[in-house]
């Protein structure tokens, strides 16, 4: 298997496959589940238990491992150009911004969202007060990732078509 095959075919395919799952589930949480749970909590009696118990843990599993595969496949694509990209060396200025946004989002998933969601879902012991704080922290981190995904997708999707004409290099 040649290095070009790993970088240009396998890495790119895995990156897009996992990235669609990661960002798709991020948008599911933010565009669908948050408001659905609010509406379910207002039902009499509250009807959101099924979502919290059966949907959210499965969605979070694929969400966090899709994030991991996306990042690893991203490094497969960059290969020996990784340092040039991470240090914004031309022509990788735009791509470098996209990669750093992705890395911030990845850390957010594993270091902020997942540990707090474990408390919210009752997978680790937490008082009601701790659960309320964890819910707020995970919510804001998830919304931050939704916000960051917008420039991320611009810089990633244009990395080969527009970077040189737009950004020079």
């Amino acid at each position: 298997m040649s290095a070009d095959f790993v970088s240009l075919v396998l890495g790119r395919w895995l990156h897009i496959l996992a990235g669609v799952m990661w960002i798709g589930l991020l948008y599911y949480f933010n565009f669908v589940q948050v408001d659905a749970l609010k509406a379910a909590a207002a039902d009499e009696p509250p009807s959101g238990a099924g979502i919290s118990r059966h949907v959210a843990p499965r969605a979070l599993f694929y969400f966090r491992y899709a994030a991991l595969v996306t990042v690893l496949a991203g490094f497969m694509i960059m290969g020996p150009r990784t340092m040039d990209v991470l240090t914004f060396h031309p022509p990788y200025i735009g791509l470098g911004i996209g990669v750093w946004l992705g890395l911030i989002m990845f850390v957010n998933v594993w270091v902020v969202i997942w540990p707090n969601q474990k408390k919210v879902l009752g997978l680790v012991a937490a008082s009601d007060d701790e659960k309320a704080r964890a819910r707020r922290t995970a919510f804001l981190a998830s919304r931050t990732n939704t916000m960051l995904s917008m420039p991320l997708l611009l810089f990633m999707s244009t990395s080969y078509t527009l970077h040189r004409p737009l950004f020079g290099g």
């Binding site: 735009g94 939704t146 916000m147 950004f167």
Partner: protein, 34 residues
């Protein structure tokens, strides 16, 4: 509680659009584009 654009979905989307424009202009500036 202080107002936070991330509390609403559309506040989040607008913040994302603004950040996209800011980072796009920053990238152009870093690349020395006119």
């Amino acid at each position: 509680m202080k107002w936070n654009p991330l509390d609403t979905l559309w506040g989040t989307v607008i913040a994302g659009l603004v950040l996209t424009v800011v980072l796009y202009l920053l990238a152009r500036s870093m690349a020395g584009a006119p």
